[in-house]
């Protein structure tokens, strides 16, 4: 199957190095401490942060840092075929763990000892790149909740089909059997915090594909920063400043 046609266009009309359209909204869930909706093309994800609050399970309490917990769930209607079991399956557990580790690395947990921060991510529409969309949404929600972080964590995926590195794979390209590289990146500190890849990739191409994903992460970071600035301006305006 042809994923990049001779003119250089992908299945959805994008260029190989073009990302899908991004859209973010802060404060979607009124009762949460921080929340955000993040869309990457047709993938739509909502994240809510509750915390820092008292630890529910005292045995897990830590005296020198905050406990970060995360749950990833997909809605029944998020995929093309109706999913029977929204939570608890192995893929959801793995992605919950991945998001938790990524966010824990950048939250300044030592500032909030004996407390708990809960990050809940719900996938409303899945079209490839849900992991990345969840991390981006979680970053926005944490910023909305005012939780101190080292840097914004952004994430993007890239792949390699028809001998072309492709940025931001959608579901069709993801399930094509080619490699899928997901990168989590701290833009200001210039550090890679998450790196996952499946399927095979020639060693000399790995660097290229990873670098492409990092460029995608930087672009998302610029967008997230804009959204947060806009939100802060709105808050200032409402306060009458």
């Amino acid at each position: 199957m042809e994923f990049v046609n001779p003119e250089g266009l992908r299945l959805d009309g994008r260029r190989p190095m073009e990302m899908r359209q991004l859209r973010a909204e802060i404060g979607a869930v009124a009762r949460a401490d921080g929340s955000a909706v993040f869309e990457m093309g047709n993938t739509k994800v909502i994240a809510a942060v509750y915390g820092p609050r008292e630890v529910q399970n005292k045995s897990q309490q830590s005296n020198d840092q905050a406990l970060v917990r995360c749950e990833y769930t997909m809605a029944n209607f998020s995929t093309g075929d109706r999913k029977r079991k929204p939570k608890g399956d192995r893929r959801s557990t793995e992605i919950s763990l991945v998001i938790r580790q990524t966010m824990e690395a950048c939250i300044l947990t030592h500032l909030m000892p004996r407390s708990q921060i809960d990050i809940y991510v719900q996938v409303l529409q899945a079209d490839g790149g849900t992991r990345s969309a969840c991390i981006n949404a979680a970053t926005l929600a944490l910023a909305d909740a005012g939780i101190p972080m080292r840097d914004l964590v952004t994430s993007c995926s890239s792949g390699y089909l028809n001998s072309t590195p492709l940025l931001d794979l959608n579901y069709l390209e993801d399930s094509a059997g080619g490699p899928d590289v997901t990168v989590g990146f701290l833009p200001k500190l210039d550090r890679v915090t998450l790196l996952q890849m499946d399927a095979k990739l020639p060693v000399d191409i790995v660097e290229n594909v990873m670098q492409l994903a990092i460029e995608g992460c930087k672009a998302i970071a610029t967008y997230i920063r804009e959204v947060l600035l806009e939100n802060t301006k709105q808050l200032e305006y409402r306060r009458g400043l």
Partner: protein, 317 residues
């Protein structure tokens, strides 16, 4: 302030012989006595904490077509309570008991995004309660009699092929009155549902499965004129209120959810809560619900048609 519903209260005796209330789900700070008196007193005087009267609904926003890959979908917001409903239609076989009826399954999922207590399996109990209450209100009895959704319209080939509707709801934000919001979202999602036309190849014998050709072009809009709305009346103190916030729900004595259709007929009734109700109070509640259902129905209808018209505009432009 953050408040939760008390599912049921356990009392645990401690060493001093004092009874300490132990709540079901773990929650954050509750209401103080002064706050409780404030809310109860306000309701007695027909002024609630957000300024509403006892029989006023919060502002309702409806958006349809939010899930493109579903046959129909809607997102409804009542105050801070927000739910998304999606309808998916799949071909299936009708049950042997009712060969002329299609099947509808309603499933509610309480997302952890709405409440931290819904994490893992915490929301399962509430989800099951809401799913059953919705099925009771919308689908009628086990024989299918008196259903708000006309199941005979879902049949394709009698006894062989029917449409199975899977209605999935997701609670994104919970601030009380979930059942009403879910009922409204399902009504809106059904109004948005387009079931593809099916052409059956003729002359199939009685035992064989006929061949079906599902059209990509032609769709039938689902008829929602008979779908009822659900009105929940919550009793706090001596009066009952409609559209309670979670603050008001946290010390209700009982709640009655009544589903009423366009003709003013009662389609289903569910009572929740520990305290008993005088039968005259229940019949009074039913008449109040019938009166309020007209207002809610017309409001929902106008919101749904406005939302559908918006989609029409988007498609044309």
């Amino acid at each position: 302030m953050r408040l939760q519903n008390y599912g049921f209260r356990n009392f645990v005796g401690c060493g001093f012989g004092i009874l300490l209330p132990m709540s079901g789900p773990v929650k954050m700070v509750g209401l103080s006595l002064g706050e409780k008196h404030f809310i109860k007193g306000g309701i007695d005087q027909n002024i609630r904490s957000d300024g509403r009267k006892r029989d006023y609904y919060r502002p309702i926003f409806v958006e349809t077509g939010v899930i493109p890959q579903a046959n129909g979908s809607a997102r409804v917001r009542m105050g801070a309570t927000e739910v998304i409903a999606s309808v998916k239609a799949e071909l299936g076989k009708p049950s042997a008991l009712h060969p002329d009826k299609g099947k509808v399954v309603i499933f509610v999922d309480c997302s952890a995004v709405a409440e931290p207590t819904f994490e893992g399996r915490g929301g399962e109990e509430l989800s099951a309660e809401l799913s059953v209450a919705l099925e009771r209100c919308l689908l009628g009895g086990t024989s299918g009699a008196g259903a708000g959704i006309d199941l005979t319209s879902l049949i394709v080939a009698e006894g062989k092929i029917c449409w199975d509707l899977y209605i999935d709801s997701l609670v994104i934000s919970s601030d009380g009155n979930l059942l009403d919001a879910l009922g409204a979202s399902i009504k809106a999602a059904l109004a948005n549902t387009a079931i593809p036309k099916v052409n059956i190849s003729a002359a199939a014998s009685a035992d064989e499965q006929p061949e079906v050709d599902i059209s990509d072009e032609e769709f039938l809009q689902f008829d929602t004129s008979a779908v009822p709305v659900i009105i929940t009346l919550t009793q706090v103190g001596r009066h009952y209120i409609v559209d309670a916030t979670s603050e008001e729900e946290s010390h209700m004595s009982s709640a009655v959810s009544i589903s009423v259709n366009r003709k003013g007929h009662v389609c289903g009734l569910t009572k929740r809560g520990g305290e008993g109700l005088d039968p005259s109070v229940v019949s009074d509640m039913i008449s109040v619900a019938q009166h309020l259902s007209e207002l809610l129905m017309s409001r929902l209808d106008s919101e749904i048609s406005a939302a559908e018209a918006e989609i029409g505009d988007d498609e044309e432009s």
